[in-house]
């Protein structure tokens, strides 16, 4: 199929883009890489009357300050694979990016587009939730920050209001030694996941300082296993039991079944992925790789 009619506007500055989005309100949509929006338009699931092309705006940088990594909305997925700030501060993200689509999609897709599309098992949405990222939304009325867990409201539903543009994603830096892992299973390499799990482990060499988790496929948005996170804090690294952890995750999640996988398969898959990602994180933290 092909898209319905729309008017095309090429934004030259962020202010220009915000003015266009304010003017067109509900009928306007920003487009960056188009790797999620254009399929939706081709299938006529999205029918924006005005498309605001933001690809030429100055939003493609990864920058750091004392406490945060700031990722511009137009940063393309493949950028993370070779970026030293990501390898140093967000290792789970480095693993997750390998699972996003295919090379051509990773070259063109942007973090702003992926988060605003909000597929339930999208890797970058999971990374935003895992790292307690804050989403920066701009409009002609100013800027606001939303926590990733509040930004993602449901399958393909976000907190973006008409006239708003996602301009930046702020990831807090870990404090002290840390490791991160991510794993997923899909039908085909590059397809959206049936289930996924990510772990971020801050430690002091012998004990867990802080455990963060993210689980994809259990609900319509990525979720944290906050109870298990709290239980791990302060424990010796050697006391982390990946098998028991996986079993607890299996017992706690209640995913739905669909044409790709039954609920039962998905529940057990998520538990197994939780076990594997925690084991790798623990072994890395203990210097066992």
């Amino acid at each position: 199929m092909r898209p319905t009619e729309f008017a095309y506007h090429r934004a030259e500055t962020i202010e220009h883009a915000l003015a266009l989005l304010a003017e067109h309100g509900e009928d306007g949509r920003p487009i960056s890489g188009g790797q999620s929006l254009v399929p939706m338009m081709n299938l006529r699931l999205a029918r924006p009357a005005h498309l605001v092309d933001v690809n030429h705006l100055d939003m493609a940088r990864i920058e750091e300050d004392a406490d945060t990594i700031r990722i511009g909305a137009l940063v393309r997925h493949e950028t993370y694979l070779t970026h030293p700030l990501i390898a140093r501060h967000l290792p789970a993200m480095l693993e997750a990016v390998h699972w996003i689509g295919h090379p051509t999609i990773r070259r063109n897709g942007s973090i702003g587009g992926s988060l605003c599309h909000a597929d339930p098992t999208a890797e970058l949405a999971a990374m935003a939730v895992l790292h307690d990222a804050r989403i920066v939304l701009a409009s002609t009325g100013g800027r606001r920050e939303v926590a990733a867990v509040d930004f993602l409201k449901g399958a393909y539903v976000t907190d973006v209001q008409p006239g708003e543009l996602l301009v930046e994603v702020i990831f807090p830096k870990p404090t002290g030694p840390h490791v991160g892992t991510f794993d997923e299973v899909g039908e085909r390499l590059g397809d959206f996941a049936i289930g996924s799990f990510g772990v971020r482990l801050e430690h002091d060499g012998t004990r867990v300082r802080r455990l963060a988790t993210v689980c994809g496929g259990a609900r319509m948005v990525p979720i944290r296993m906050t109870e298990l996170e709290a239980g791990a804090a302060g424990q010796p690294l050697s006391a982390l039991d990946p098998v028991a952890f996986g079993q607890k995750v299996t017992a706690m999640v209640s995913p739905s079944g669909d044409f790709r996988a039954s609920a039962e398969y998905r529940r057990n898959l998520i538990g197994e992925l939780a076990s594997r990602t925690l084991q790798r994180a623990r072994d890395q933290a203990m210097g066992m790789k």
């Binding site: 095309y8 188009g34 254009v38 399929p39 081709n42 690809n55 295919h102 999609i105 070259r107 063109n108």
Partner: protein, 166 residues
């Protein structure tokens, strides 16, 4: 409403008036007469429509032609013409890398930059890396093994001709 755009396609300038909703794939096929651009799924799953925009592979079914104003585009026709003389095309023929051929232009446009990069680096990639490089393209005839062999053969030829690798 139509927008005026200028594209450089396979080295030739095209001044066109296009509706914004028209996909680059459709404009290349219908307005530029380049029928080597194949459309499989039109939602980014099959890779058939891969072309190069300013030198890098891009899915022309997920790109509006109006976004490409002023850009340089190469299609499969730029590789080896109707005789398919490009080394990777020849290797596809030799290793049974195609049967019906519908997906072949997409595979070639996705893989030629990969092959060139590996030859420049002077390394033969492991099979898993080749399969990752072609993971965005679907072939329903070959089972992919012939395509992997064609890529290995072409990189091997490139490495030998510049005196690097095995």
């Amino acid at each position: 409403m139509k927008n005026k755009i200028e594209l450089t396609v396979n080295g030739k300038g095209h001044a066109l008036a296009v509706e914004p909703r028209r996909l680059l794939a459709d404009v290349l096929r219908e307005d530029c007469g380049l029928h080597g651009v194949h459309i499989g799924c039109a939602h980014g799953a099959c890779g058939c429509c891969t072309v190069h925009v300013d030198g890098a592979p891009r899915l022309s079914c997920l790109t509006f032609a109006v976004q490409c104003d002023g850009k340089t585009i190469e299609t499969v026709e730029s590789l080896g013409g109707t005789d398919a003389t490009h080394p990777l095309q020849q290797a596809f023929r030799k290793h049974h890398g195609l049967q019906c051929g519908y997906c072949t232009p997409g595979f070639l446009m996705a893989l030629v930059p990969f092959v060139d990069a590996k030859v420049r680096e002077g390394t033969m990639p492991p099979e898993a890396e080749i399969r990752d490089a072609m993971s965005g393209n679907i072939c329903r005839c070959t089972g992919y093994q012939g395509i992997v062999e064609a890529v290995q053969d072409t990189i091997g030829q490139g490495l030998r001709s510049q005196g690097t690798g095995q």
